[in-house]
């Protein structure tokens, strides 16, 4: 399927890109000052354009680049609730609260997500809960991204799966260790541009030969009309799944630690607008038009997934490319896909160190680490976390990965009362927040464990309702009621 020449050229393109990322990390490391604030937050001086691209690159992962098309193929028009539920809501949340987070973080020297809980409510327990939950949910995601990147390189014959895991994971680890956030932001800038550019190229080079929008749609609705109505071809999007996914996803994504801390390092209020600008721009290019069109037509063109050379729906884009685009385009597109994954993983690695250092280790040892200790231990945490994630990637246990992905956004969404409601009103106090967090995170964990033990699916949903919604159903009322009952107590 892939000739020797094509394989060599594709591998060379990917390797050149990897070397470029290491160079970025090295150059960033040379100018990084030895303070925790500089290593983790680039001295809070990130301007509009850099902030926009680092947010784009971090938000849009391998999922957006490859799996979005696969998801539209499986769920059809229902999957449009992802962009529809997120873009505008996340924009207004950032405009309303992002500025407050930024000011508050500067005022108290806050670096991590849990610290915001401590300085707002004065509870170390709440801080540790947020830090630990954030760390554990993020860990699985790092593994997933590495699996995705390695899989695509292996499936298209560029290199062996294990070599791909080592290369992709190793390179990301190296440049994060060297340059901290400065390396992450500058590599994200390059990766964000590559990702958006190559996704546009992919879309155009496949959709044009298929007769444009009208040609694609007529092929698609003649082939499988269920693509254009609920509950979709997989019959997954029932009313309750639609409604609860619509509510949980934007909250879970916006509150993910690696995205949340981006509010802290905007240089000024104009720079902060880079966040909503990045959300809207990347959605427009990746989620709303190109991916649904490619997803709706993929099986009509390529045949049912089980007949593909490798029966994985997330290989739809590469297979469509091989059919309609010149062979030399596959290499750059691979770079776009790998860039999408690496640019998310690098931020997650850094966020993991921030969460453990500031929200778990410091509260436990009851002292603030020096800058030097903070960077040294942070690098150690990044390395250890990466090794765990790479082991997950080397021996991917599907059930556990599905489990973790299923609960990740459900878990992050449980921060909503503490980090959103509590920032809008003084009526919420630490007792309410702790009660809500314990109930919300506990509910999500309990349902997920039950599903795992008794093999009750689908992962992430229980009785047709998103697990995050079950958690919030207890979390929000409990936060409000307990805060009301304990008002006036310190």
């Amino acid at each position: 399927m892939v000739g020797e020449l094509e394989r060599t050229v594709n591998a060379a393109v990917v390797l050149i890109y990897m070397v470029a990322m290491v160079v970025v990390g090295y150059l960033a490391g040379r100018v990084t000052r030895r303070t925790a604030e500089d290593y983790y937050l680039m001295s809070r001086e990130v301007r509009f354009v850099l902030l926009m691209f680092t947010y784009i690159a971090t938000l849009q992962s391998m999922v957006a680049f490859l799996a979005a098309t696969a998801s539209y193929m499986t769920h059809g028009v229902a999957y449009l609730i992802l962009p529809v539920s997120q873009g505008m809501l996340m924009t207004f949340l950032t405009l309303l609260l992002g500025w407050r987070y930024r000011e508050f973080a500067r005022q108290h020297g806050i670096i991590s997500q849990g610290e915001l809980v401590y300085y707002r409510y004065g509870t170390r327990l709440g801080q540790v809960l947020v830090g630990l939950a954030g760390y554990l949910f993020n860990l699985a995601y790092i593994g997933i991204q590495v699996v995705g990147m390695a899989y695509i390189l292996w499936a298209l014959g560029v290199m062996d799966y294990y070599a791909a895991v080592a290369l992709v994971g190793g390179i990301t680890l190296v440049y994060v260790l060297m340059g901290g956030l400065r390396a992450v932001v500058w590599s994200d800038f390059i990766q964000g541009i590559l990702m958006l550019l190559f996704f546009l190229v992919v879309g155009i080079s496949i959709l044009v030969p298929l007769g444009g929008v009208s040609g694609v749609l007529s092929t698609a609705y003649n082939y499988k009309p269920d693509l254009f109505r609920l509950p979709g071809p997989a019959r997954f999007y029932t009313d309750s799944v639609y409604v609860t996914t619509y509510i949980i996803l934007p909250l879970g994504i916006w509150l993910s630690p690696h995205l949340f801390v981006r509010h802290y390092f905007a240089k000024d209020r104009r720079s902060l607008v880079g966040i909503p600008a990045g959300i809207l721009l990347s959605q427009a290019i990746m989620w709303v038009f190109i991916a649904p069109l490619l997803g709706s037509v993929a099986e009509a063109i390529l045949g049912p997934v089980k007949q593909w050379p490798i029966a994985r729906s997330d290989l739809a884009i590469p297979y469509l490319l091989m059919k309609f685009a010149p062979w030399w385009l596959v290499g750059p597109v691979l770079v776009g896909a790998v860039a999408a994954g690496m640019s998310t993983v690098d931020s997650q690695m850094l966020a993991e160190a921030q969460l453990l250092i500031r929200d778990v280790i410091e509260p436990v040892i009851k002292r603030r680490l020096t800058d030097e200790e903070s960077i040294r231990y942070g690098r150690l945490i990044i390395a250890v976390t990466s090794i765990i994630a790479f082991v997950i990637a080397l021996f991917p246990p599907p059930l556990i990965i599905d489990l973790m992905v299923g609960i990740a956004f459900a878990g992050f969404a449980q921060f909503f009362p503490a980090l959103v409601l509590g920032m809008l009103t003084e009526r919420i106090n630490k007792y309410g927040v702790i009660a809500g967090l314990v109930a919300g995170l506990g509910t999500v964990a309990a349902i997920q464990t039950y599903q795992l033990v008794y093999r009750v699916g689908p992962i992430g949903y229980f009785m047709g309702v998103h697990n995050g919604a079950w958690g919030l159903l207890l979390n929000v009322p409990l936060t409000l009621v307990v805060s009301h009952l304990t008002r006036g107590r310190r």
Binding site: V77, L80, G87, M88, T91
Partner: protein, 71 residues
């Protein structure tokens, strides 16, 4: 944390419109259960595209107003 952050009145209007649109999206599932063709495009897809574009317009206006008169 809870200092006054006065928001322009026009931003509050846009926020209200945005929230209404968001809830419209939330409650749109009955409209997505079947489709007809509108100019060769399935009505469900067209509806979601229009809703998304309307949300983008409100979001972009929100950004502009916030930049000109926000906190």
């Amino acid at each position: 944390m809870f200092g006054r952050h006065p928001l322009p009145r026009s931003f509050k209007y846009l926020l209200t419109v945005g929230l209404v649109l968001w809830f419209v999206g939330l409650l749109s599932f009955p409209l997505l259960k079947d489709f007809t063709l509108v100019g060769g495009i399935p009505s469900t897809l067209l509806y979601m595209w229009c809703l998304q574009v309307a949300m983008w317009v409100v979001a972009v206006l929100g950004i502009v107003v916030w930049l000109r008169g926000g906190p």
